[in-house]
Symmetry: C2
Subunit: 403 residues, 2 copies
């Protein structure tokens, strides 16, 4: 029988549209098992653990939790905090003091690393702790996972946004640059390709962190599309790098978090730079840039049904695995082979998703490095779900009567 004790759960890193599904999935699953006594939530992740800012999740009603599940952002509050070795020791003391035997941390690779540090500490001194990472990141860059909860809904948002933006740009022709989140991996920027219904739909160009970005190539690419269609919609990852691997956006950002990551979002500087450089290199006059910003991860009401369901499941599965013989680990999403979309959830060691992230595979990027491949579209389509239907006029011309 599983060890009796209390459970602690926290949320970490950037919020998503469905991270609360994972929280609620874990909490409601935990309530079914007698081995789990207290169900505590840590406010603002690692920070809340160090401050002992815990709330009683047994005091929440089921209806209240379901409302939270359908709400974007992190209901417990989040943080970007990597514990120092001293803090790890303190966290561990706190877990002991509250008789925490089940610890769940919902987040990305940095959060998996934090969970791994705590787990190592517990193992070293023989403290029985089921320590679990629950995957979440709109960047979709967790190793071992086919995809991650949060990505599908963000993909749905950015694809919808570019779909509308293409219509807008076709109506008022010019060049439109849309800057999309994704620090290390281009998956989310690539997902804007779902906006295409007809062959001439935008995004017409896609620039990813996986390929070096050249201003001259960019200007030539845009000029070519502009000549063909009379307008051009470009999706650019905030994480694009130059030939030397330096972040183009980092020229404007001095701010870093405790994991050493530069601030990329919450500023329009990269989009404005790209617009300015394009105007300097081409005769194109109407150039606009939008940075989708935090709307990508927190816009209420734009959620992928598949993503919400999977986010709920990884929370439930983590609790069930924690009660079994597996000890600690992370829940990994694997896609079932075959035509129909389906996934399985498997346990992997914490270290397998911690620290390093994964990138877009070469098979998903076109040879020119400015678009995705059909293989990527096949991969991403079921994750974002069906997008809004778009109508277009047939535009049958009236013969000109001018002299």
């Amino acid at each position: 029988m599983a060890r009796q004790g209390n459970m602690l759960i926290g949320q970490s890193g950037g919020p998503t549209a469905v991270i609360n599904q994972s929280l609620v999935g874990a909490v409601l699953e935990a309530r079914k098992h007698k081995a789990i006594r207290g169900i505590y939530g840590a406010l603002h992740g690692m920070k809340g653990i160090l401050d002992e800012a815990f709330i009683d999740l047994r005091k929440e009603t089921k209806a209240g939790l379901e409302a939270v599940a359908a709400t974007p952002a992190a209901a417990l509050g989040s943080a970007r905090k990597k514990p120092t070795p001293e803090e790890c020791a303190r966290v561990f003391e706190i877990l002991k003091r509250y008789d925490i035997r089940y610890f769940f941390y919902i987040g990305g690779n940095d959060s998996a690393e934090s969970a791994n540090l705590i787990n190592e500490n517990a193992k070293r001194v023989g403290y029985e702790l089921a320590c679990w990472h629950i995957p979440k990141t709109i960047d979709n860059d967790l190793r071992e996972n086919d995809h991650t909860p949060g990505f599908g809904s963000a993909a749905r948002f950015v694809a919808s946004a570019v779909m509308g933006d293409t219509l807008d740009c076709r109506a008022m022709p010019g060049v439109k640059i849309d800057v999309v989140m994704g620090r290390n991996a281009g998956f989310l920027t690539a997902a804007t390709a779902l906006a295409r219904v007809r062959p001439d739909d935008g995004p017409h160009l896609i620039y990813l962190p996986e390929r070096p970005f050249s201003f001259d190539r960019f200007a030539a690419d845009v000029t070519s599309v502009q000549a063909r269609l009379g307008y051009c919609v470009v999706a650019v990852s905030e994480g694009i790098v130059d030939d030397a691997g330096e972040l183009i956006a980092a020229k404007f950002s001095k701010e870093v978090d405790s994991h050493g990551n530069a601030q990329l979002s919450g500023t329009g500087a990269l989009g404005d730079l790209l617009a300015q450089e394009l105007k300097a290199r081409t005769p194109i006059t109407r150039v606009r840039a939008d940075t989708f910003g935090y709307l990508q991860r927190s816009f209420p009401g734009v959620v992928s049904v598949v993503d919400a369901r999977e986010a709920r499941r990884v929370g439930e599965v983590a609790v069930r695995l924690a009660l079994g013989p597996e000890g600690s680990g992370t829940v990994v999403i694997r896609r079932k082979p075959g035509k129909a979309y389906g996934v399985t959830y498997v346990r992997m060691p914490l270290a397998s998703v911690a620290k390093e992230t994964k990138h877009m595979p070469d098979a998903f990027i076109n040879a020119a490095g400015n678009d995705v491949t059909p293989a990527f579209l096949e991969y991403v389509r079921p994750l974002a779900g069906p997008l809004p239907k778009i109508g277009r006029l047939k535009r049958v011309s009236i013969p000109k009567r001018s002299a």
Copy 2:
């Protein structure tokens, strides 16, 4: 009986989520009336008229038109073009050449001005032309109108965005600045106040073009909210001006259209400036700025039902009025008095909505000039429709066990 002849319709100015409802409303209404023979669409507004780039809207199926009605942006294409006196004369020659007796121009105050110029030309030479302006603008700044088609859906988008952003900012505390469209009037920025469900919800501060903006006041206001709540969400209009009435954003923009309007959207410069000035004036370190950009007017799937219905009706009503004895004019939306929301559509002269725009009335802005009043919320709520439901944890604390 109404004069027999052809009809021409065009779309002008910034696209909206429902401008195609007005187009389709007018076209389907026109098909019911024998006096209207050809139903032509001008591509890209005034530009398409001058180029005789006309399409046959009788060749579109009803199902196709309905799909277009539900699609954001301008299906005919749009333009920001004010015709010169020579161009007005040419437009008039073209209308005669195509036997256009019914002309409809969907747009804002600049479009009404263009329609008025053409109408004056026709009157001067005794050419029988029913010349109509159909209202549209997310800025909600057309005179005589209680509100304008396009505004409700944009209000719905920005309020949803700030609702999600408040959750995001509460989860990762700091200051968040959201820059909202609205060149001369603050209605759309003000509509972000609909995001508030509980008293401490954002936006906590709202800055409008109707009140002079001071960086020092802004810094003091944010500091005060930050001290009270630990985070702060600010909605700022792109059209904010300094004490001298100069656009703060204009410092970054050299680009103007043929109506003399500076480019405000499609750049993150204003948000970045506000963030930078706030960091310089306060000890606050985490400051982020998002500029909602073109998503506000073109995001598919986020539409106010009331707005879509009214946009359809103004198109239908314009055609019906054009066939009556009223000659030319614009369709104006009036709100019915009383508790239940309802509107009527009335004819007004073209000049009554052309050129000058209207501003937020004083009764809608609080005394401090950094928020809206309950009267504004009552005004705007029915236009945006019910927003997504938000769940929140009760957060019952666990007593601390630290020594």
